[in-house]
């Protein structure tokens, strides 16, 4: 306690030193006010965590770790009440993985085009247009997905995939359009602006001298991109991909509207499934007390994953920035 007080006193002394000589009472008041707002935000974050823990309490107490190993979701109507998270964690991982698999190459292609290939007059407007994708609300993606994407998937894309890869169990079953595969596709579209924008930033940060080095040993444009740009920007790309993963994991509405919402561990991508977020969205308002608690625990898991993923991504991205500062 004494130590704590000493630290606070020191901090106070230091902040006084910073607030230049002759700080008026108005200065002190204003600084306190803005500091109160900033620390109010931290309190809010703490409150969010606390409230979620409180709400998840009954579920944590009742099921303990078996919540993460159980695959059954028995609401009060089908006693005994048991809740397990496995199918949702699985669904989240599969859809997010699929989204990355489809979205990352496209995003990198876009970033390469925007920073390396497009004629200069086209770069800025095209960048804006791609970023418009990020401005469209998730629920509109969902609506479009239901009315436009799902029928196309059901009638053209999925049968085509099946005719080539149908021997694989993950592409078995009757394509219905609203399924795990379509959810992965819509997620891929939704993470494209995130990943392509950050990758593009990383590419633009590659010094021109690196490109010249590759060109001067007779590299083609693509070889230059691969040798000088992609490798130089690799941690930036990694950070971008992880941020995209974070977005895919937390995305709710579009997936809820397209994934079919069935609580089962699916074997085929053409099956219906669910993610953590879609399951919460679908069941929260109709759940019994213990079920609500279990859903809150799911939400807590989702938050931890999303935050953790982003912190990791930022580590990569700040390291990029630091490397850049050193080499520039």
């Amino acid at each position: 306690m004494r130590a704590l007080r000493a630290v606070t006193a020191r901090r106070r002394a230091r902040s006084h030193g910073r607030a230049h000589a002759g700080a008026t009472p108005g200065d002190v008041l204003f600084q306190s006010l803005s500091a109160a707002a900033a620390f109010g935000l931290l309190l809010l974050l703490a409150l969010v965590t606390l409230i979620l823990l409180l709400g998840a309490g009954p579920s944590i107490q009742t099921f303990g770790f078996s919540f993460f190993t159980g695959a059954v979701w028995n609401p009060p109507a089908h006693p005994p009440e048991v809740y397990g998270a496995v199918p949702f964690v699985y669904g989240t991982l599969v859809t997010a993985g699929l989204a990355l698999l489809l979205g990352v190459p496209v995003s990198l292609g876009i970033a390469i085009f925007l920073s390396e290939l497009a004629p200069p007059w086209l770069r800025v407007p095209l960048t804006y247009v791609i970023e418009l994708l990020a401005a469209i609300p998730s629920v509109v993606f969902g609506l479009w997905g239901v009315f436009v994407l799902a029928p196309v998937m059901r009638d053209s894309v999925e049968p085509a995939v099946q005719s080539v890869f149908g021997f694989l169990p993950i592409f078995s079953g009757t394509p219905v359009g609203t399924d795990v595969f379509t959810a992965g596709v819509i997620l891929a579209i939704m993470i494209i602006p995130t990943i392509s924008a950050i990758s593009r930033e990383a590419f633009l940060a590659v010094p021109q001298t690196q490109r010249e080095a590759a060109l001067a040993i007779g590299a083609t444009h693509w070889e230059t991109t691969r040798m000088a740009v992609l490798t130089y920007a690799r941690s930036g790309i990694l950070g971008a991909v992880i941020l995209g993963l974070g977005r895919a994991v937390s995305e709710t509405m579009a997936v809820t509207m397209l994934i079919g919402n069935r609580n089962a561990i699916f074997g085929s991508l053409f099956d219906q499934g669910q993610t953590i977020a879609s399951w919460i969205a679908n069941n929260f308002t109709e759940a019994g007390p213990l079920e609500t608690s279990a859903l809150i625990e799911l939400g807590l898991v989702l938050m931890l994953v999303a935050v953790l993923v982003t912190v990791v991504a930022r580590l990569f991205l700040t390291r990029v920035l630091r490397v850049l500062e050193v080499t520039e």
Binding site: A38, V48, L52, L114, V146, V148, W222, F284, G299
Partner: protein, 303 residues
């Protein structure tokens, strides 16, 4: 020698192939964007009539229905979104801008970096989790007897959720906007003998005006489209605003529930609402782009 030539030809071929592939990636991204805009416009525009903006949502009207269909509109949802976003902004903007001031003007130290980190963490909380938080907070307060337990699904809970999402956005965009104000401006004002808080409120905030407005607009855009956190808070309602402790309608909720409904009249309204929402988002996006561009050139001139 022939082998060499083949290799050179292959390298050039591969170069062209990869360039084409990169271009194809752009097209792949533009197709859904174009399709969304086109579908929203073509489907949505038919529902746009004066009643669309003024009437409450109609009852479902299927082919089996024997009643005459009332056209209805999403007026109550538009009102609901205005109420929810307006109230959330009322709370989030002052707090967010103040926090942004702290980060930019007082936060250039370890403490400030720590605060910034946690604000960034807040930005990453999935919005549906914020909805759960708002619901649970009001629910627990109700259980403790502090609020009416029946008002868990209410305007107030919805505002709580949206404001929680909005505050960190406003804080970070304000910080960035303030940081773009050149230090010379601060120093010039300080040199006039103004106290630091007058420098900030009088000079720095003024110089960062367009950036601050842009940040606020982006925050509004973001929460106006939020759906997931409203499901368990604002809940949706077929009526116009009934009171802060009552459920309230919202545009995104209408899109969600009507879009998934089997009734054509509801689906049309969903598209109409989607069209309006998308137009608003695109408008804000374009306006903020223009504002940002203006600000950058201003910053360059000042330097």
């Amino acid at each position: 020698m022939k082998l060499r030539f083949d290799r050179a030809a292959r390298r050039i071929w591969k170069d062209r192939a990869m360039s084409t592939a990169a271009l194809a990636c752009v097209v792949v991204a533009l197709v859904p964007l174009g399709s969304i805009l086109f579908t929203a416009a073509s489907q949505g525009i038919q529902s746009l009539n004066p009643g669309f903006f003024t009437s409450a949502v109609p009852p479902p009207c299927g082919s089996a229905s024997t009643e005459t269909c009332t056209p209805g509109g999403v007026g109550n949802a538009i009102e609901g979104t205005l109420v929810l976003v307006g109230l959330a902004s009322l709370v989030a903007m002052p707090v967010g801008v103040l926090a942004g001031i702290y980060l930019s003007e007082y936060g250039n130290n370890r403490l400030g970096r720590g605060v910034r980190f946690f604000v960034d963490v807040m930005l990453q909380i999935p919005s549906i989790v914020v909805g759960i938080f708002a619901y649970t907070l009001i629910f627990e307060l109700g259980r403790a007897g502090w609020t009416d337990p029946r008002s868990v699904f209410s305007t107030l809970t919805g505002v709580l959720a949206l404001a929680t999402i909005m505050v960190p956005i406003i804080a970070r965009t304000s910080e960035e906007a303030l940081k773009l104000v050149p230090n010379a401006t601060r120093e010039a004002a300080l040199a006039l003998g103004l106290p630091k808080h007058r420098v900030i409120t009088g000079v720095v905030l003024g110089s960062a005006r367009s950036g601050l407005v842009t940040g606020a607009l982006l925050g509004v855009a973001r929460v106006s489209g939020e759906t997931a956190p409203l499901i368990m808070t604002a809940f949706g309602s077929p009526y116009f605003f009934q009171g802060l402790n009552q459920p309230i309608a919202a545009m995104p909720l209408v899109i969600y529930t009507f879009g998934l409904s089997p009734y054509p009249n509801w689906q049309h309204l969903a598209w109409g609402a989607a069209f309006v929402l998308v137009l608003m988002m695109l408008g804000i996006s374009v306006v903020s782009r223009l504002a940002l561009r203006g600000r950058f050139s201003l910053a360059e001139v000042a330097r």
